[in-house]
């Protein structure tokens, strides 16, 4: 794998392969010594133009458990906030010998631009770009779903026949975008659920169904209910009247939680707005995989870094 920019490029076999390697990585994390020497001598740069402590430390843990050197480059307070361009930053990292750049950027497509630019030779991992994609989140979500369904017999399997309801602000969600392509590649069915203002109008050809009615969707018995975070900046821009109404119609409250089928799992990429899109009881219930998602995030990112940085360079 040369770069990981989007889940849309992943075939079914490639996706399963990454998840299988993530299983191997997860296995090593139960050992006495969790650090592997695999990427000794490689340098991974976490280039974060947006604050995201959770994603950064997950990548940092993944790189360190594979013995890579990690450089954290936060744009805040650095030369970048003083107007340095992405191009100059990339060229600096190139000179510093970065083998992989994990980039989080507020601008959709910034990782593509970096990968296509020729400014830097490193492998590029998209750690979330604008409202475009967040591929490693989708990988860890798929990994989590697969483990919930198949346990230790997960290796080699896809998600055929699984139905995933993704609920909330689909329009602005990079998590929803990365998930829909990956879930489709793995044979799962996706239903986007949310207010019509927050579900895109143009989904021609997308492997997703659309519902504006959460209760109706829950009544069909989805295997997974993935709740998305409602960003505070949406509250004042006429996407919905107010948080109370949003929560009543599209929140996973206690009553809806009680109506879920016995095997339905509840996911959330975090950070959660408890009481808005998800009730505390739902977040903490045994069906919730929120904490597993965090742990699995490290395994999935180890797999991605391993596949990106070991092996001869593919060009």
């Amino acid at each position: 794998m040369r770069h990981l920019l989007s889940t849309r490029d992943l075939s079914r076999d490639a996706a399963i392969h990454i998840l299988d390697v993530a299983e191997d990585m997860a296995d090593t994390q139960t050992r006495e010594v969790r650090k592997l020497p695999t990427l000794r001598g490689k340098t991974v740069v976490n280039l974060f133009f947006e604050d995201s402590t959770r994603t950064r430390i997950s990548f940092e843990a993944a790189a360190k458990r594979l013995s890579a050197d990690v450089i954290n480059f936060s744009a805040k307070g650095s030369s970048v906030s003083k107007g340095e361009s992405l191009k100059d930053t990339a060229q600096t990292l190139e000179e510093m010998g970065a083998d992989a750049v994990v980039i989080r950027h507020g601008a959709s497509g910034a990782p593509h631009t970096l990968a296509a630019s020729g400014w830097i030779d490193a492998g590029i991992v998209n750690a979330g770009d604008g409202t475009h994609e967040h591929p490693t989140q989708a990988l860890l979500d798929a990994f989590t779903i697969r483990r919930c369904l198949h346990g230790s017999a997960s290796r080699g399997r896809a998600l055929d026949g699984v139905t995933v309801a993704i609920v909330g602000d689909i329009l602005h969600s990079r998590v929803a975008r990365s998930n829909v392509w990956l879930l489709s590649a793995l044979g799962a069915r996706t239903v986007f659920v949310g207010p019509p203002t927050l579900v895109p109008n143009h989904l021609e050809g997308w492997p997703a169904e659309v519902s504006f009615d959460l209760d109706a969707t829950l009544a069909t018995g989805p295997d997974v209910v993935m709740m998305l975070r409602i960003q505070s900046e949406r509250m004042n821009d006429a996407f919905f009247p107010n948080p109370r109404e949003y929560s009543r119609r599209w929140g996973l409250d206690d009553e809806r939680l009680a109506r879920l089928g016995p095997d339905t799992i509840v996911m959330h990429p975090g950070p959660m707005n408890r009481g808005l899109e998800i009730s505390s009881r739902a977040a903490d219930s045994p069906r919730s995989t929120v904490r597993e998602q965090v742990a699995n995030g490290v395994s999935a990112r180890m797999a991605v870094l391993y596949l990106l940085l070991s092996g001869e360079r593919e060009d």
Binding site: D24, E32, V33, L36, P37, T38, R155, S310, E312
Partner: protein, 179 residues
């Protein structure tokens, strides 16, 4: 390309039986033995050796697999390798006599990686090495404790181990170089 059969089915079985006896003899019995195969064919061989050791000694000997991919020092010289699962018997490796089993012993680098991997999992009392074929050309100070067959070879030759469980037939052949 000329292929020469070095070991036939019966030869392999005999070699494994002898190795099983030697393991029991050097360990003075089956106590604290753990047999670990290195994927892919080393795992098959390890299971067979463990079964033989168990039959001979009358005591079940734990067997597992140890993937060394993540410990290799040649990762960036080859296409990306897919790791294989590691499974360690429930007793763990602490205080055990671990017998590593591989099909062909060559440069010794795989075994070095395996020793590193073992170190991350536990602290065995001793680690021994069994190989079905030792073809020489070591690049590290590593030598096997139990060998099925010493097979002096030229680096241009290739050695193929085929096992019933993996390949549907059973033999060791040596072939002239060239792909």
């Amino acid at each position: 390309m000329s292929a020469r059969v070095v070991l036939q089915h019966a030869d392999i079985s005999r070699a494994l039986t002898r190795i099983a006896h030697e393991i029991l003899e050097s360990n003075r019995g089956p106590d604290d033995l753990v047999i670990l195969g290195i994927p892919t064919r080393g795992v098959v061989l390890a299971r067979r050796v463990a079964r033989l050791v168990s039959e001979i000694s009358g005591t079940g000997v734990p067997v597992g697999s140890l993937d060394v991919t993540m410990y290799r020092d040649d990762l960036s010289r080859n296409p990306t390798r897919a790791p294989s699962p590691t499974s360690i018997p429930a007793r763990g490796l602490d205080g055990a006599t671990v017998v590593l089993v591989d099909d062909v012993l060559y440069s010794g680098r795989t075994i070095r990686a395996a020793l590193d991997a073992i170190g991350d999992i536990g602290r065995p009392r001793a680690v021994r090495l069994a190989a079905l074929v030792d073809r020489g050309h070591r690049e590290l100070p590593i030598r096997p404790d139990f060998v099925g067959k010493n097979l002096p070879s030229s680096p241009s030759e290739r050695i193929f181990v085929r096992l019933e469980d993996v390949d549907g037939e059973e033999s060791v052949t040596i072939e002239q170089g060239g792909v």
